[in-house]
C-alpha cells in the first residue's frame, strides 16, 4: 500500500501487468494482429458489427473525456455526433465539398457548437448540466428533423464514400480498417491527454472543484476544454458514420443514442480506456448476440446490465489505481 494514492492511470491497472517494454510491445502486436485478422475470422456480418462497435469505442472515448476525466454528466453527446454527420452530409451533397475538406469543417462546427452551448452552462453543477446537455441534444435532433436543408425526417441520402490516395473507401471491410485506425488514434490522443497538464487539471476539478479553483485552476475553462475535446471525437465519429452508411436521419441522434454512449462509458469503468473499450463492445455486441431471442433481446440485455452493475458497481474494468 502506498502512502498516497497514485494518480489513476487511464490504462486502469494494465500497467501493473504489462510492466516491461517487451510485454507491452507484445501486447500491442497481438492486439494489432487480432484487429487486422478479425474480419477474416468473423465474416461479413461480424465485420459490420465490429465496425459499429469501433465507432462506439471512438464516441465513448470522446464522452469519456467529458464524463470520466472531467466529471461532467453529458446526456446529449449525440448532438456532436449529429453535427459531424450532418456537416459532412450537407457540405458534400449540397456544396460538392470533398470529404477530406468536409471533415475539418465538421470538427470546426462541432467546436463552435461546443463553445456556444458550453460556455454559458458549464458553470452549472452536474445534474443541471445533465439536463442542459439533454435539451441541447434534443434541440439538434428536432432542428435536423424540421429543416429541409437537413432532409427533414428522411435525412440525407446518397452521401459519397471518400477516396484516399486512389483508394475508394467503400466496402464494409474498408470502413472496418478506417475505424480501426481512428480508434488507435483516439486511444493515443486520449492517453496523452490524461497524462497532460490539462488531464491533471481535469482530475483535480473532478475530485474537488472548489479546491481546484482555490489552486488557481479556471474551472469553467478546464471543463470547456473537456467539452471541446468530446465534441471533436463526436464529430469525427459522426463524419465517418455518415460516409459509412451513406444515409443519415435524425433518428440516429436521439436521446437513446446519447444514453447508449454514456452506458458504454460507465459500464466498462469510466476514466479507464480499456474499460471504455470494453463497455462500447458490450453495448453494441450484446444486443447483436442476443438477436436469436427476438423481441426479448433488449429485456435480456437490460437484466444483464442490471446484474453487471450490481456486482461491479464501479464498472467492469477493475479499479486498482491504489496499488
Amino acid at each position: 500500500m502506498a502512502q498516497f494514492p497514485e494518480r489513476p492511470s487511464p490504462w486502469g491497472g494494465l500497467g501493473a501487468i504489462l510492466d516491461t517494454p517487451a510485454k507491452r510491445w507484445t501486447a500491442i502486436a497481438v492486439i494489432l494482429v487480432a484487429m487486422a485478422a478479425a474480419p477474416f475470422v468473423f465474416g461479413s456480418y461480424g465485420t459490420v458489427i465490429l465496425t459499429n462497435a469501433l465507432l462506439y469505442v471512438l464516441l465513448a472515448l470522446g464522452l469519456n473525456v467529458v464524463v470520466g476525466y472531467a466529471g461532467l454528466l453529458d446526456l446529449g453527446f449525440a448532438a456532436f455526433f449529429a453535427v459531424g454527420a450532418y456537416t459532412v452530409g450537407i457540405s458534400t451533397l449540397h456544396f460538392g465539398l470533398n470529404f477530406w475538406l468536409a471533415l475539418p469543417l465538421a470538427v470546426l462546427i462541432a467546436i463552435i457548437a461546443g463553445v456556444v452551448i458550453g460556455a454559458p452552462t458549464l458553470r452549472l453543477r452536474s445534474d443541471y448540466l445533465a439536463i442542459v446537455t439533454l435539451g441541447f441534444g434534443e434541440i439538434v435532433r428536432i432542428t435536423a428533423r424540421n429543416l429541409r436543408e437537413t432532409g427533414g425526417a428522411s435525412g440525407l441520402i446518397g452521401i459519397d464514400s471518400p477516396w484516399l490516395f486512389g483508394w475508394h473507401i467503400r466496402t464494409p471491410l474498408d470502413f472496418y480498417y478506417v475505424f480501426c485506425v481512428l480508434v488507435i488514434l483516439g486511444v493515443i490522443a486520449s492517453v496523452r491527454l490524461a497524462n497532460s497538464r490539462l488531464g491533471r487539471a481535469w482530475l483535480y476539478v473532478r475530485h474537488d472543484e472548489d479546491a481546484a479553483e482555490a489552486m488557481g485552476i479556471d474551472r469553467v475553462r478546464v471543463k470547456l476544454a473537456a467539452y471541446i475535446v468530446g465534441a471533436i471525437y463526436g464529430s469525427i465519429g459522426g463524419a465517418f458514420f455518415a460516409a459509412n452508411l451513406g444515409a443519415i436521419s435524425p433518428e440516429s441522434f436521439s436521446f437513446r443514442q446519447s444514453v447508449l454512449i454514456l452506458m458504454a462509458v460507465i459500464l466498462g469503468g469510466m476514466g479507464k480506456i480499456p474499460g471504455v473499450i470494453l463497455g462500447a463492445f458490450i453495448v453494441i455486441l450484446a444486443p447483436e448476440l442476443l438477436r436469436d431471442f427476438g423481441d426479448l433481446r433488449l429485456l435480456i440485455f437490460a437484466v444483464g446490465l442490471l446484474l453487471i452493475m450490481l456486482f461491479r458497481p464501479s464498472g467492469i474494468w477493475p479499479v486498482r489505481s491504489k496499488r
Binding site: 452551448i117 458553470r123 442542459v132 424540421n146 474537488d208 423481441d295 429485456l299 446490465l305
Partner: protein, 304 residues
C-alpha cells in the same frame, strides 16, 4: 375564435397537461432530494401505473362501473401497487448501489427502465391497449371555453395529491426526516433517523404519484402503450429541473410552466407544434443560465 378565446383555451390545455407533468415531476424531485439519484426509470412507473390501473379497472368495472368512481378506486389501488413496486426497485436495484459512484446508479436506473419497458412490450405484444373507462362528455361552458368535468376532476385530483404530499412533507415526522436526509444523510443517520425506511417511503410516494398520473392519463386519453413513459419521463425531468430539482413546490411550478410553454408554443406563430420542444428546451436552458438552480431550487454543494 377570438384571440382571447384561443388564449383561455390554451391556458386550460396547458394546465391540464402541466398537472400530469407535475405529478410525475414530483417523484423525480423527491427521489433526487433524498438519494441524489436521477431516477430514469420514473417515467416507466407512470406507464406501469397506467397498466395497473387498467387491469384493476377491468376487474372492478363489473362492480363499480367504468366511470370516475371505478377509475378512482382503481387509481388508489394502482398507486399502492406501484408504490410497492417502487420500493422493490429501490431495494433490489438502487440500495446496493448507494455507495457506488453516482453515475453507476444512473446506469442501473436506465437498466430498470429498459426492463420495465421491454417487459411490458413482451406482455402486451407491442399492442396499444384501450383503457376502457367511460367518463362521459359533460362540462361547463364559459363563453367559448368549454371545461369538461373530466378536466376539473383531473386537475382537482392532481392538486389534492400535491397538497397532500406537501402537507406530508412539511407536517409529519417522515416528512421532516425526509428533509433532514436531503440536507445530510450521514448526519441524519447519526441523529437516529431510520434512513432506509425514509428512503422507502420516498420511493413509495413518488411511484404512487406517477401511478396516479398514469391511471388518470389512461382513463382520460383512452389508451395505453408500453412506450408511453419515455416521453413524459423526459418532460417531467425537464419540469423538475426548471422548478429546481429537489424542491417539491418547484416540481409543481415546473410542471405547470412546461405545460403552458408547450400549449402556448404550439399556438405561437413562428414556433408552432413543429418547434415547441425546441422552444421549451431553450427556455429551460435560459432559466438555468440565469438561475442555475432552477426557479425554486436552493443553491447547494454537490459533487459527482
Amino acid at each position: 375564435m377570438t384571440i382571447f378565446d384561443i388564449f383561455t383555451n390554451q391556458l386550460l390545455n396547458g394546465i391540464v397537461l402541466g398537472s400530469f407533468y407535475a405529478l410525475v415531476a414530483l417523484g423525480y424531485t423527491m427521489v433526487f432530494g433524498v438519494v441524489k439519484l436521477l431516477n430514469f426509470a420514473h417515467g416507466e412507473l407512470y406507464m406501469v401505473g397506467g397498466f395497473a390501473g387498467f387491469l384493476l379497472l377491468s376487474f372492478l368495472a363489473p362492480y363499480l362501473g367504468p366511470g370516475w368512481f371505478g377509475v378512482a378506486v382503481s387509481m388508489v389501488l394502482a398507486m399502492i401497487a406501484v408504490g410497492f413496486l417502487g420500493v422493490v426497485i429501490e431495494r433490489v436495484a438502487y440500495a446496493p448501489m448507494l455507495s457506488a459512484p453516482r453515475l453507476s446508479i444512473l446506469i442501473t436506473a436506465l437498466a430498470v427502465s429498459l426492463v420495465l419497458q421491454n417487459g411490458m412490450l413482451t406482455l402486451t405484444k407491442g399492442q396499444y391497449v384501450p383503457f376502457g373507462a367511460a367518463l362521459g362528455f359533460g362540462g361547463v361552458r364559459l363563453g367559448s371555453l368549454f371545461i369538461s368535468y373530466n378536466q376539473m376532476v383531473l386537475v382537482g385530483v392532481a392538486g389534492a395529491l400535491m397538497l397532500g404530499l406537501e402537507l406530508f412533507v412539511s407536517r409529519t415526522q417522515y416528512g421532516r426526516a425526509m428533509r433532514a436526509i436531503a440536507v445530510d444523510k450521514d448526519m441524519s443517520r447519526l441523529m437516529g433517523i431510520n434512513v432506509n425506511a425514509v428512503i422507502a417511503v420516498t420511493f413509495f410516494l413518488g411511484s404512487a404519484l406517477a401511478a396516479a398520473a398514469g391511471t388518470m392519463a389512461g382513463a382520460y386519453y383512452g389508451s395505453l402503450w408500453y412506450f408511453m413513459g419515455f416521453l413524459i419521463g423526459l418532460k417531467a425531468f425537464t419540469a423538475a429541473v426548471i422548478g429546481g430539482i429537489g424542491s417539491i413546490p418547484g416540481a409543481m411550478l415546473g410542471g405547470l410552466i412546461l405545460g403552458l410553454l408547450e400549449s402556448f408554443g404550439t399556438q405561437l406563430p413562428g414556433v408552432g407544434s413543429e418547434w415547441k420542444d425546441v422552444f421549451s428546451f431553450s427556455v429551460l436552458i435560459l432559466v438555468l443560465v440565469f438561475k442555475p438552480t432552477g426557479l425554486l431550487g436552493k443553491p447547494e454543494q454537490e459533487r459527482m
